[in-house]
């Protein structure tokens, strides 16, 4: 079986997206949800670079992926800071206990 680098990259993208999606479904801890978002962002990063490599424009892929890294880091920073504040105010990181709009 001879897999091209693009195919290998796509296998990784699908795998990381699946794991991140599963984590979002089962995680209750706010910090762990941020970890799952990070995994999803890694999949997007890999997809951009693999597509750039397959199209022969790796530098364009790199420049786009750099924006993804910056946005992903800011999402992580804000998620972590929100988690710390929520823990200080409510004493828990459990997202099920944080909901105040229960029916």
């Amino acid at each position: 079986m001879n897999l091209s680098p693009f195919t290998i990259g796509l296998i990784g993208v699908v795998g990381l997206l699946g794991v991140g999606f599963y984590g979002l479904l089962v995680s209750r801890n706010l910090i762990k949800i941020v970890v799952c978002l990070q995994i999803l962002a890694k999949a997007a990063l890999l997809a951009l670079v693999a597509a750039g490599q397959a199209a022969g424009q790796i530098d364009l892929g790199q420049s786009l992926a750099l924006t993804v890294i910056v946005a992903d880091t800011i999402v992580a920073v804000m998620g972590i800071a929100l988690g710390v504040q929520i823990r200080r105010r409510t004493g828990t990181l459990d997202v099920r206990k944080l909901s105040s709009l229960r029916g």
Binding site: L16, V35, Q62
Partner: protein, 187 residues
């Protein structure tokens, strides 16, 4: 084949990051995912991005996670899921199968390089708006982080306000008595 091996290990690390009970362990597994992703990026020829991913994704984000976990505490939660576990596994497997079938069945033919391009030229000249957006994002992120991590000051109300005003009254009275007791200066 090396990149395939690295990618499989990265997916296993990602699964371990979700499965880990402790948050510190989860953050360390995530750092492993970032490091392996950086290696794969390097093998793809994205050398600049690999270095940035290794320093930011593996270094900075992991340090931030450990800092936040130290502040918030690493208390493992009781067992329980947001959605039933079989449903979550089923939906995730279905998602992976559909996405995999959709993506892998529509593989484009590999293209050749259209011309010599340099990353710095594309990044600084061709993607100038992206650079501007990144600067704004970093600035707003730093400000937001400082604002959210700042200690919350209690409002001056109730007993705290009363204690402050009574303390000031006492200080004023002491100052008046001190002024009255002082002998008048000779003329």
């Amino acid at each position: 084949m090396l990149s395939l091996l690295l990618i499989v290990v990265a997916v296993v690390f990602a699964f371990q990051a979700i499965r880990a009970r402790g948050l510190i362990a989860s953050a360390l597994w995530l750092a492993g995912v970032s490091a392996l992703t950086a290696l794969v990026l390097y093998l793809y020829g994205a050398h600049t991005l690999a270095v940035i991913e290794l320093s930011v994704g593996t270094g900075l984000v992991t340090v931030l996670f450990v800092l936040a976990i130290n502040i918030a505490g690493d208390n493992p939660m009781a067992a329980g899921w947001i959605v039933p576990l079989p449903l979550a596994i089923g939906v995730s497997v279905l998602f992976v199968l559909v996405l995999g079938w959709f993506v892998l069945s529509a593989l484009p033919a590999p293209a050749t390089a259209s011309g010599e391009t340099v990353f710095s030229d594309i990044f600084w000249q061709g993607r100038g708006l992206d650079v501007l957006v990144q600067v704004v994002l970093i600035f707003s992120g730093v400000l937001g982080f400082l604002g959210l991590l700042a200690e919350v000051k209690a409002p001056l109300g109730g007993s705290l306000a009363e204690s402050v005003t009574s303390g000031r009254d006492l200080e004023l009275k002491a100052l008046e008595e001190q002024l009255l007791e002082e002998p008048e200066s000779p003329e």
